[in-house]
Point group: C2
Chain length 286, copies 2
């Protein structure tokens, strides 16, 4: 069983709409609040050798990335920290606070707990004008599909390509890009933390339409043989780039470095250079 199977069960309890996006969307005043929570822990999320500062930074960055994926601006982050060793706390908090400060959020509070395994849950809050909110659902056949930045770098680092280690350990959430894309009129968006392929299938599920991507267009990690680089770009996890759709004439959006990798199709399948793309990437399994 994987986490997407489980999500289907959760939908039976709390409803389908609550689980479709990177963030919950809560109307408040004339605006939308967005809220998201992410659990990270030592054995599955923090690669060996990571510093406390990097652990704190990453814990906040993954949450801010979800806020970016809605076209929203972050306001506050709460951090619940289950500590195996209390000596680790200070550097974790410094990394978390630095990530908040870099992206304009306030580290507003949290919870401390003793835990056998270092476990961090960061919760992010943001806000966005209703007309600038971008959801996963909204893609239209004929739109192009595009991606910010470079694909596969985090997984490349895990495979031993040391030049990509910073991309793995200190991910940079695409907040500026997400906000700009929301204002420009992107039609659908999500981040690709579980890999491009799984994310495209999530987009199929949300939209009921499909995607035809051209693997020659994928922005590949530098210094990796091309075949391996393409595999990492399609199926590697740990990248926090934004996958989005929009009318072709919308691009380029000023200040957003993005690559068109394909187009939205009517049929709900994912094709990579004409062949059905394998639905494989990073998943929690039990």
């Amino acid at each position: 069983m994987d986490d997407r199977d489980l999500l289907t069960r959760v939908q039976a309890v709390i409803g389908h709409a609550q689980t479709l996006d990177d963030c919950a969307v809560l109307p408040h005043g004339g605006e939308y609040l967005v809220a998201t929570t992410d659990m990270l822990h030592e054995t599955t999320d923090f690669p060996c050798g990571m510093t406390g500062w990097q652990i704190g930074w990453m814990s906040v960055a993954v949450t801010l990335s979800d806020i970016a994926a809605m076209g929203a601006s972050p306001t506050a982050v709460l951090l619940a920290v289950g500590l195996d060793d209390p000596e680790r706390l200070l550097s974790i908090m410094e990394g978390a606070n630095d990530c908040c400060t870099t992206y304009g959020a306030e580290l507003a509070g949290g919870d401390l707990d003793a835990h056998r395994e270092l476990t961090i849950v960061s919760t992010g809050l943001g806000h966005v004008a209703p007309e600038h909110l971008v959801r996963r659902k909204g893609a239209r056949p004929g739109d192009v599909v595009a991606i910010t930045g470079t694909l596969g770098e985090a997984q490349a680092a895990l495979e031993g390509y040391g030049q990509h280690r910073q991309a793995l350990l200190e991910p940079q959430p695409r907040l500026r890009e997400g906000i700009a894309l929301g204002r420009a009129g992107a039609t659908a968006m999500m981040d690709i933390s579980d890999g491009l392929a799984l994310s495209l299938y999530d987009m199929v599920a949300a939209n009921g339409c499909g995607f035809a991507i051209d693997t020659d267009r994928l922005p590949l990690p530098a210094g990796v043989p091309e075949g391996e680089a393409r595999e990492l770009a399609l199926h590697g996890g740990g990248d926090f780039e934004l996958l989005f759709t929009c009318p072709k004439e919308l691009l380029p959006v000023p200040d957003v470095e993005a690559t068109i990798i394909g187009r939205v199709t009517a049929e709900p399948v994912v094709l990579a250079s004409g062949r059905v793309l394998e639905r494989r990437g990073y998943q929690h399994r039990w």
Copy 2:
């Protein structure tokens, strides 16, 4: 080292004001948003024999209790669930959803993860008009100090008094009471999840004044010998009652069952029937 020592270190990074209350307070529009996060996990928080439904209920209840302590109304809860066994998820989500529904909040989303030990982090959001917000700081010498409901029931259940088991396993956050007390003009408030004694010392730290309580006035758990009942009421954890201060003439507040247990004093000490109260209760330790 305990969690209150650690909190002092965190304050050096993120600031003192961010850690003083049960919730973070975030101005938004003309209102205050309040936000709080709580980590619970199997070995320290879920007594043996607890059902999945009760685990889900409790995980939400502890968070809603923090919202109640600010005089705020809950709006949404996010649940990050680290599962040892995926079969546990459905009943946990049902309990969580039932607790949300009971108290007027929406279970708006969350995160799923595989974890060696069942670990749940619930994050609650609420809102309150600025004039009805109650903080831990605000107590004034001469105010009375009072408590909702009954003390020591959860700890009594842990000590084997089965008649209090529901209080332990299915805590009822005092939302109606918190909102009514905020509107009525309570001057300071917090919930007492780590026990009355520790909470009074937290109030001393926030307020710079002290408390003189009369142990004969404590609302004790039924069916427990008096000496033991008083110990449980002072130092037992797991109760989610509201401890608050207000001018004496404010009480009774309609629809709020509360007991005056003492008064606020100028000197920053906690006295129980004239003797300094031991600073002891539920604390996470490493």
